[in-house]
Amino acid sequence: MLSIPQVTKLQFDLSGSRHLICVEDEAIEIVYTRMAELKRIPENLQILQTGATVISRKDLKVEQFDSVRNLKDRLREILDRAMMGMRFYGVGSERFVWDLNRCARSFGLSEEEISLETSDRGSKNIYCANCQTINCVDNTDVFTCYSCGTKLEVLEHFSR
């Protein structure tokens, strides 16, 4: 269905002049994998990550944060001063990736300037049509809304 976001493979856009990667925990392995597929590591690269690096690399500096909230504060600080030419990349759970995507879009980045990849692990936000609460749940077809108690069947329609 076309309403599901087509998050595919992280694509480095080398037409950009700066590259900012936000990555959730172990998903940094995905970043390493994608980089290994390139001929060379892009210049002007900046990486923000939640949690501790699983495999640290000497050639890459990674700024680490103890929460998504703190990472987002730093992201806002960077985007507020960033210049045209920046490309934004989000890698992690669906929830993480779309949260940061919204943040990046609010600074005027267009879809053309953003690339995302979701790791299959992790959780989704499910919107309860009955009470408008956003529930954070693991992949599932049916669950009960934690706010109003309505039993929800999960439909595959994605909201921004």
């Binding site: 960033a82 030419g85 005027g108 053309e112």
Partner: protein, 313 residues
């Protein structure tokens, strides 16, 4: 196309070759328009024709339109006609159309004008300043006397920069476009060579394509084109398209009802299927892949490479 009838109530000579016409409605209300819009003006010469001009008044102004017209040397007579009319003259206009609209989410606008290309950008200024969004206007002209709206633009202070070729001031696209904040949108209404320079600089700095907008009309000179014949598949009618006319104009002259909107190869409204013949795509509407398919043409701008083009009309 007699969608609006207007009367000229004021004519101002902005430069030796550019006149501004203020138009009010004769038969009711003027249609509102968005910044960057153009409209067709009927030129009532022996051979009736339509010229497109950008609106350069405020979109919030409901009582009048302003158009600025450059007296063009290799014109079809339209600008000469407009330059000799007096106040009180009635004109027939189409409804406003826009193929150069402002992106409503931009965090900053950079407007770049060359000569008469200033006109659509003037209407944008009214909107940008009302919404208090940061902007810069860079305006290249020959000299202050050849620079339309020179006095009007003084109110914007150092947000407007002039480049007068007579004084050797040159507009440097890279310098303008570098170090602009995220969410900047660039609007170009400049001659083709400068447009290519601006697009090249934007691309080198990493601007995405969707952040660079350009107005197209007036971009294509028709004098270097070859004539061809359009064959209408349904009626088997043969229509000669001379070198100085577009396929759309030739169809209109032959009394064939043809769709169109921007008349500049930007909107796709005049698309016609091509059954046979090789197309010379001059539009900015189709993707390279679509152009390669060679099965559709925008009649307002594109032509034939082959001597003949069989179209589905």
């Amino acid at each position: 196309m007699n969608e609006q009838v207007v009367r000229v109530v004021e004519i101002e000579k902005l430069t030796p070759r550019i006149k501004r016409f203020r138009l009010v409605s004769v038969n009711g209300k003027l249609a509102s328009f968005s910044p960057g819009s153009h409209l067709a003006v009927e030129i009532p010469l022996a051979k009736r024709q339509y010229n497109s001009y950008s609106l350069c008044s405020s979109p919030y102004q409901t009582n009048f339109y302003d158009l600025a017209v450059l007296l063009s040397e290799n014109s079809r007579g339209g600008s000469e006609y407009l330059h000799q009319i007096t106040t009180g003259t009635e004109l027939k206009l189409g409804l406003p159309k826009n193929s150069f609209a402002l992106n409503s989410l931009a965090r900053k606008y950079i407007l770049i004008a060359g000569g008469i290309g200033i006109t659509p950008l003037i209407s944008m200024l009214f909107v940008i300043t009302r919404h208090q969004i940061p902007f810069e206007l860079h305006y290249a002209a020959k000299s202050p006397t050849e620079c339309a709206f020179y006095r009007f633009l003084q109110q914007y202070g150092d947000r407007v920069k002039f480049y007068f070729s007579e004084r050797g001031n040159r507009l440097n696209p890279k310098q303008i476009l570098q170090e602009q904040p995220l969410g900047t949108h660039v609007y170009l209404c400049v001659p083709q060579s400068l447009r290519e320079d601006c697009r090249g600089a934007a691309s080198a700095l990493g601007y995405p394509k969707s952040a660079v907008h350009r107005e197209l009309f007036g971009a294509v000179k028709t004098n270097k084109f070859k004539p061809f014949t359009a064959v209408l598949a349904r009626s088997e009618q043969r229509i000669d398209v001379p070198q100085d006319k577009t396929l759309l104009e030739a169809l209109e002259a032959a009394g064939i009802k043809a769709n169109y909107s921007c008349r500049a190869g930007g909107c796709g409204a005049c698309e016609v299927k091509v059954i046979e013949g090789e197309i010379n795509h001059l539009d900015s509407y189709y993707s390279p892949a679509e152009k390669a398919e060679q099965n559709r043409i925008l009649t307002c701008i594109s032509r034939a490479k082959s001597k003949q083009l069989v179209i589905d009309l």
